[in-house]
């Protein structure tokens, strides 16, 4: 749990590299000097407590927020992500925590929103076929792609949001708590999907509070705490190690408390840290 670069066990090239990214909202400093590397064909899990700055980091990469300082290197070039379209153009796709779907539009329209086929004379048939193909690749259980998203369940919406992110064949995909709203089976589907996406050579950043999910798919686990890097772990790291990095066990009292809490949690079968 030291240098973010040396820890990477990548098979392929470096897709994303962040150095010294800081962001504050007024008096709140959400991120302070964050470093992060993501390689092609790698799943990086981003974990941390509520308010650790995970979503803020994702939004910076999605072009929603500009960082106050630091550099973003994407595929070897320093880039400025000053609006969502810029990120999409580079091949950074994001599934936001709140999914960002239009409830009044149907599944096809949501998947193709902002990148309709033939904008001057919408090609509905081609879009519908492509939507089904994408959804089938994800083994999605969607009754009809012509129903408004408002009539779908949470898991189905999640699938639609993920399908949309894959539409443009991105190089990097960011998933902000993709399994938070899902049941057991749906979670497994999404994790399978993440593995399939990784095997296609994409770089994946996944945020999750669920350590089981994280261990199941992550190649590396990056911990944020209070907006700072707080270690990088292998998925086989012990729960205790992870939890103390997440909750901040820098002095003994905190560490003991963390152990105690963790012990009682494991006893009661509570999976979340």
């Amino acid at each position: 749990m030291t240098d973010p670069v040396s820890q990477s066990n990548s098979r392929n090239g470096l897709v994303l590299s962040l150095r010294g990214i800081s962001k504050s909202f007024g008096a709140v400093s959400a991120l302070t000097k964050i470093d992060l590397d993501v390689h092609a064909g790698e799943v990086v899990a981003l974990v941390g407590d509520n308010g650790a700055g995970k979503s803020t980091l994702v939004k910076i990469l999605a072009g929603v927020h500009l960082p106050d300082s630091g550099t973003i290197t994407f595929c070897g070039e320093i880039v400025v992500l000053d609006d969502p379209a810029a990120s999409l153009r580079l091949g950074i796709a994001t599934v936001f925590q709140d999914l960002a779907l239009c409830e009044n539009l149907d599944v096809v329209a949501n998947i193709f929103l902002g990148r309709e086929l033939d904008p001057w004379r919408l090609d509905e048939v081609a879009m519908e076929i492509r939507a089904w193909t994408l959804l089938n690749e994800l083994s999605a259980r969607i009754p009809s792609v012509r129903e408004p998203v408002a009539s779908l369940s949470g898991g189905q919406r999640q699938t639609v949001a993920i399908a949309r992110s894959l539409l443009l064949e991105p190089k990097l995909i960011l998933l902000d708590e993709p399994t938070a709203a899902l049941g057991v089976a749906q979670t497994a589907e999404v994790l399978d999907l993440i593995e399939r996406v990784r095997d296609r050579g994409l770089a994946v950043v996944m945020i999750s509070h669920n350590m089981e999910d994280v261990r199941a798919v992550a190649d590396r686990i990056v911990v944020l705490r209070l907006g700072r890097n707080n270690g990088i772990f292998h998925p086989d790291a012990s729960n205790q190690e992870l939890v103390s990095a997440i909750t901040g066990a820098s002095n003994n009292a905190v560490s003991r408390r963390a152990e105690r809490r963790q012990g009682s949690r494991e006893h009661s079968g509570e999976p979340r840290p």
Binding site: A62, C102, E116, P119, R121, I129, N136, S144
Partner: protein, 368 residues
């Protein structure tokens, strides 16, 4: 067609598609659940009842009158629908009409050619829309406030520019201006070919129909139309997918002002004069027509056909009350009641219009 394709590609998916068959709304179910459909039914019923009971209602002259009367409202309802779909409102359309009429009227009284006068009127109207759009889309102010301000500003400018006079000495191009506003098609014998039972429909009506077809086409077949609905449904989501939200919202207000200008110029031609009070109170009639036609004031829903049918419905009620000899002071109450009733009928209860839901209760499944 796509279903078959999917089944062929993935046999495991067949079971899901079978479920889909049940859940998929049929075309008929969709129609039954739509507010414009029920308003159309109500409109037809009203017309039939009136035609039977009131001989003067069913005449071709009255038909020509009614269709001309609601056309300016219908034209503006197209623009209002676009704005309302994005989740906004445009209260300034009536005042923009007044300003456009006065600006065009002034240029005509100064003996400029008609097309220049119309162009200047159009520019004045579109400028109002651009100001609305700028403050709503780029400054982020509530549309209600901005367009309420414009309602006051445009009317005031119209009064000032006209020196509070009626403008009617339109110079050499006056006959052309009148011809545009008073044109009819098809003409009956002896001037034309149309049979006696066919109403001579005004240019206003045809402009509205043309505009409705264009707007309907754009809503269904252009990415721009799709983006309007996306903005109304979830503006933040539209932004995140790279939709140029601000630009499209700006254009919506410009389009609304454009439709108000168009209606104003047609009325100017029809009247052969311009008064600064033109269009006073029209904003409420236009909004009422749009809402009766099924547009959702929360944004994200609305159709060109709905705007058309809503405007027609309002005017037919007004006309019917007049013909039935009901004191004109009662009109407001009736129109208001119908606004509430129409929205109630179209209100979605679990994805169905109330009427459709009631029908389902009354009639067992197999009979439908």
């Amino acid at each position: 067609m796509q279903h078959d394709l999917v089944k062929a590609a993935d046999p495991g998916h067949a079971a899901i598609s079978d479920v889909a068959e049940n859940k998929e709304q049929t075309f008929a179910a969709r129609v039954f659940a739509s507010q414009p459909f029920w308003v159309t039914i109500a409109l037809i019923a009203l017309v039939v009842i009136m035609a039977i009971n009131e001989p003067s209602f069913g005449t071709v002259e009255n038909a020509a009158n009614v269709t001309r009367n609601f056309a300016p409202i219908g034209i503006m309802a197209m623009g209002m629908t676009v704005v309302i779909i994005t989740g906004g409102i445009d209260l300034s359309v009536g005042s923009v009409m007044g300003l456009v009429a006065i600006v065009a009227g002034l240029f005509l009284t100064w003996h400029y050619p008609w097309y220049l006068a119309f162009a200047m009127g159009m520019i004045a109207g579109i400028a109002c829309g651009a100001v609305n759009g700028f403050f709503v889309a780029y400054v982020g102010m509530p549309s209600f406030v901005v367009t309420l301000g414009m309602l006051s500003i445009a009317r005031s400018l119209a009064v000032v520019f006209s020196a509070n006079q009626m403008l009617y000495q339109f110079g050499p191009d006056a006959p052309i201006v009148r011809a545009i506003g008073q044109a009819k098609w098809p003409l009956r014998a002896p001037a034309g070919w149309a049979p006696q039972w066919m109403p001579e429909l005004s240019s206003h009506f045809w402009v509205m129909v043309g505009l409705a077809l264009i707007v309907g086409y754009v809503f269904n077949s252009k990415a721009w139309g799709r983006h309007l609905f996306a903005i109304g449904g979830n503006e933040q989501a539209a932004r995140l997918t790279g939709v140029p939200v601000d630009w499209i919202k700006f254009q919506a207000y410009v389009f609304s002002a454009f439709t108000a200008s168009l209606a104003s110029l047609l009325l100017l031609g029809y009247n052969g004069s311009a008064i600064n009070a033109m269009g006073q109170g029209y904003e409420l009639r236009v909004i009422a027509a749009t809402v009766i036609g099924g547009a959702n004031l929360m944004g994200g829903a609305g159709t060109a056909f709905g705007a058309f049918i809503g405007s027609a419905f309002l005017e037919v009620i007004r006309n019917a009350l007049l013909m039935a000899g009901i004191d004109s002071n009662w009109q407001g109450a009736f129109v208001g009641a119908f606004i509430i009733l129409a929205v109630l009928l179209g209100m979605q209860t679990g994805g169905k219009a109330i009427v459709a839901a009631i029908l389902e209760r009354l009639l067992p499944k197999k009979h439908r």
